[in-house]
Symmetry: C2
Subunit: 669 residues, 2 copies
């Protein structure tokens, strides 16, 4: 934290004195204890003191080409720093990188984060012995190449082929059409010299489905593309400027048989294909990735909340009473109404991310041992939470930005960068709507099982609840009653969707047609399921975890706000079957306004508790010291456009126009 800053904006300082709880306690809870927090701050301080990192120019002032180069330089420097400091812990590495490079991507990120694990998980032991040292020494740098111009989420539709030739014991690899062109993989354009390629395997005249192949793309000395390989950057995007997302066309490139990743499936010398023991073994890394997207989305939303809430106590506008001092904009109920539910959501998502990661850690070893009992739940929950959290965060970050008024639109605010970094999570690793329909499929299966008298999965027991029962809500707004309301909503929506499907099938349509005709309803059910899960998990966290009393009180208000706001925002789905009475709706409405007032004095304390260093936020508006106007002014002064007092374009275009106009009669003064 920015301890030692010369001067804290007095409005912000007063907010910190007003908090009814100790944010430090919450920080320790969030990061796993005081020692972990101490280490985190130590690493952030290393970054702050580092002479090289201190002197980097703002990313926003650089051209794309400069960003690509700076990103690589900075991250490779951090690799070295990390090694020098002996930091092995993944969380500590994240702290270091967040403090030094915020939302600036790393073209080798997939090499370290996905390729090395994939080799470990999917390559045979012999392959690992050969490839891991190459990968770890960066002699081989690779990325994960799956999506094609014409094919994304639906992997079976990929067109790239690897056809086995037993004569030479090689695969012949092709992207046979324009739409088969590989497109999007990070680092593919300019950085990597190899890739792990997803392609349709053909051997002995048959398609054996999608498999992975290690394909060399560039010469390991000159870095020039090899014959048959056309590879390059896909051009500028909304964000991810530092990354050279790439395209790749492959024309009759031969790779040795040993380059197919053969831990599970195999192609023998004669071309005989050996199936993997289970299709399900490929799920692992994707599930884990989706868990981490939930946490990443939560973090983006939390960062945006820190920025917009700190700014909202520094920013003053309009008197609430005529002639009075201009009010801090956080004192407007409408501002609280926009920001506090998002603050609550950022904690809710954070806890959901923690849950699903722990669930994965707990259950995955069993799955790897061949016990697939928990796989459907793990798959559905990780998919659902990834989709739910990335949607909430993506929209939420923009709301935070708009709550900062005009200044939110400047890159000085840091918010646009968070947004463009956060929103692709709605698409990658499974398009959100597609994932939601996978969740719906899980729900329908469970529901059908239940109707047939089979037991429900552990996370979804509530589906057996009596949907004719009305809400227990009283003016205490007990957390328990909130949870039951969300569970009731899912259960009713699941039952409605199932009934709709049945009716359409009864009218003679196929199961597939019926599914598509009801998919909006199914989406509603899946979204409600994720929402219910997040609420329940939030309630359990504040009820069961070891908070001191004051912190628990604040967190309970926040949790209640999350639950109540979600009901009011989706009220139709909660009341169309008469679950709440009109009086209960009134209670919830009143409670919502009450909670906004109650959370107000702790808003800054709550965002401080996230303990993001200024260097990670890169925001003039979200600074710990609240000196926002000075920071905006400094940002402006340093704009590269100000390097010249008069731009060349003045001489080239404006001056000639003035001169030509001055010869016309009307302008003679």
């Amino acid at each position: 934290m920015a301890a030692g800053s010369p001067e804290i904006n007095p409005d912000l300082a007063r907010e910190r004195r007003r908090a009814t709880f100790d944010p430090e306690q919450l920080t320790c809870f969030l990061y796993g204890g005081p020692e972990a927090v101490r280490r985190k701050r130590y690493l952030e301080n290393v970054v702050k003191q580092d002479p090289v990192l201190q002197n980097e120019q703002r990313w926003a002032f650089q051209s794309r080409q400069e960003r690509v180069e700076t990103g690589l330089r900075k991250h490779m420097y951090l690799d070295k720093l990390q090694a020098d400091l002996g930091i092995a812990d993944i969380k500590e590495r994240e702290h270091l990188r967040a403090a030094a490079a915020g939302h600036e991507g790393y073209a080798l990120g997939l090499h370290y984060g996905m390729i090395i694990p994939t080799i470990k998980n999917q390559a045979s032991e012999e392959q690992q012995r050969k490839w891991l040292p190459m990968a770890e020494s960066l002699r081989m740098i690779a990325t994960y190449v799956q999506t094609e111009l014409g094919h994304g989420t639906f992997i079976r539709g990929l067109e790239t082929t690897a056809t086995y030739d037993p004569q030479t014991e090689e695969f012949i690899v092709n992207t046979p059409t324009l739409s088969a062109t590989k497109y999007w993989p990070g680092g593919l354009g300019k950085t990597v010299n190899h890739c792990v390629l997803m392609a349709q395997l053909y051997t002995q005249g048959k398609n054996r489905g999608i498999h992975m192949f290690l394909v060399q793309l560039r010469d390991m000395d000159t870095h020039m593309p090899l014959p048959g390989i056309e590879v390059g950057d896909i051009g500028p995007k909304f964000g991810f400027d530092e990354m050279d997302n790439g395209y790749l066309r492959i024309h009759n490139v031969r790779i040795p048989r040993e380059n197919m990743l053969m831990k599970y499936s195999k192609v023998h010398k004669d071309g005989t294909y050996q199936k993997p023991p289970s299709d399900k073994l490929a799920y692992g890394s994707m599930v884990l990735l989706r868990c981490s997207i939930t946490s990443m989305s939560a973090k983006c939303l939390a960062e945006a909340c820190v920025i917009s809430i700190r700014y909202s106590v520094v920013r003053r506008q309009t008197e609430i009473s005529p002639g009075g001092e201009e009010a801090q904009i956080l004192d407007y109920q409408t501002q609280q109404y926009q920001l506090f539910p998002l603050l609550a959501a950022s904690f809710a998502m954070r806890f959901a991310g923690d849950f699903i990661s722990n669930f994965y850690k707990e259950k995955y070893p069993e799955i790897a041992r061949g016990n697939f009992d928990f796989l459907p739940q793990l798959h559905a929950m990780s998919a659902g939470l990834k989709a739910f959290s990335s949607w909430v965060s993506s929209a939420g970050v923009e709301t935070c930005r708009l709550c900062c008024g005009g200044h939110g639109y400047s890159h000085a605010s840091g918010l646009p960068k968070i947004y463009v970094d956060c929103t692709p999570a709605c698409t990658y690793e499974g398009e959100n709507m597609v994932l939601m329909l996978q969740v719906a499929r899980f729900l329908m299966k469970e529901y059908t099982n239940m109707m047939r008298g089979k037991p429900l999965s552990s996370l979804i027991q509530f589906l057996a609840c009596d949907i004719t029962k009305k809400s227990c809500m009283t003016d205490k707004v007990a957390l328990k009653c909130l949870v039951l309301a969300y569970q009731h909503r899912v259960t009713r929506l699941v039952a409605d969707a199932a009934a709709s499907i049945q009716e359409i099938v009864r009218k003679g349509k196929s199961q597939q047609e019926a599914w598509n005709s009801c998919s909006v309803q199914l989406f509603w059910a899946a979204r409600a399921f994720c929402h219910a899960f997040v609420v329940e998990n939030f309630v359990e966290t504040v009820s069961e975890k070891h908070f001191d009393d004051k912190t628990r009180e604040v967190m309970t208000s926040l949790c209640q706000l999350y639950g109540v706001h979600g009901i009011i925002t989706n009220l139709g789905e909660f009341i169309q079957d008469g679950f709440f009475t009109a009086d209960q709706v009134q209670i919830l409405n009143n409670r919502l306004m009450f909670l906004l007032r109650e959370i107000r004095p702790n808003a800054v304390g709550l965002v401080d508790a996230f303990d993001f260093p200024d260097s990670a936020l890169q925001s003039c508006l979200g600074r710990y010291d609240g000196q926002v106007y000075q920071a905006l002014y400094d940002y402006a002064k340093n704009s590269p456009l100000n390097e010249k007092e008069v731009l060349d374009s003045y001489y080239k275009y404006i001056k000639p126009a003035q001169l030509s106009n001055s010869s016309k009669p009307y302008s003679r003064l």
Copy 2:
């Protein structure tokens, strides 16, 4: 349109054959008849054939500095083209510019669009005689300078001062604090040499409120800033890259008395202040600007719909039935559910924009003559529609982008650029939430009048409706019943908000405190009011305007979808008082799904009807010919990062790391 394109994607061609109506009829309706459409296409063709404009590089491939220069060059070239072709009509100018420069801004845009009109409206005749020729010949280039680092929507809070000195007959102009630094005005940074400055006028020791002053900033020959002036670009933003939005600090700069804009207010030589005849005369240009923002927002949403709907029939993914052909993604109900209501909204906003602009044209002359009867309605409606439409469009454009999957994230899609161009409208010319509360104030005033037996304003007669009456909705889903439902919703929300305020006042709080404590409720009421207005206006447009039967049928479905979807999405507000029965809700739900199916075959026809040329959309995904993959591939190949096969950063950072690693034992193969 792209007539003469070599080949239309067969999926898109088939869609065009499927339409049940003639899009050309709708195009003519939208642009005011066949002759106007012919002119529009003629101008678009001029752009297409123009050798200079043809050869411009994509904006996305340029650095910010290049974008600033290109923007200026392109737009000044268009000024000339416009003059050469003798195009005086404002709509025709817009067509020309849209086709040539799409969403690329013009640093002189405010000079032409705001400064020249401001001089005409706010300067005395003598001032006009002096300044207009200077402005028209570009000897004087100015921008409108209002917002400050610390002050936005609340104009009374501005800190910049102009203090009259009768000794020298000059104003002494100052931005006395850091937070008074002028910040954001377009073109201020590098382009203009003058500005129209909003400042607190002080004369004879008294503050006379905000007035306008013409201030020279740069030397008219050298373009260097004058003494006492510090001016520059504010740095990179989310978008508006071509614009040099600027900052300005003024230190004791003296300007002649004659530089105050004195059509209405005056400062005489001795310092005597003369008030304007009415405060309300300053409203005009802002109201007009807000009307045009409604239309602009509608256009952005329409463009995004064109892109995402065309792409959604070209893109195929996943079989609906196993083993079948991959489906066009627009055949998925969830895709229709996301896109068709936005398509409907883009028409709804378009018609709302037309209405409010016509209302302005009709009523403003009366207002200018001093009859202020219509001013409150005009002010409230223009504010409300600006806020409502910019929110809907901003969120809608992002939904369209996400509906294009991964490719939507590339600048190749054109969608990020539309978004960053559209979203600032939520903030500029009045922050949306602030405007919504102004609408609420109007509603409360009308409601109070009504309760006192006074007549309601013309646009708001329905506020007198009986809120105990239930919905007339039957399974025909008559448009009339939809309109009544929206009117019922507003009326109930207005009554609820009024009751809440009264109750708080009764408990002893001030009117101001009560207002703030109820402002979320007030916001709900204002939003519902705008929504009701947009629905009603859409219904009137499809009912009363001269469409042929087939077009009317399609437009009626779209209008019904807009109404039904809005109810389902905000269901709680419609049913919490029992206005709809459960059966009626079921009818609306079924109707929603029915309408998605019904609109499906006309989706492409409807977006074609907007008749946006490819050069305006600048989108690989939204091309008229549907050749999206070839276009994406070409975009990638042209990425500036591909100019070198091996980047310098490879030699600088990767190679050395490889070499240093290769000396370590573990990597020896």
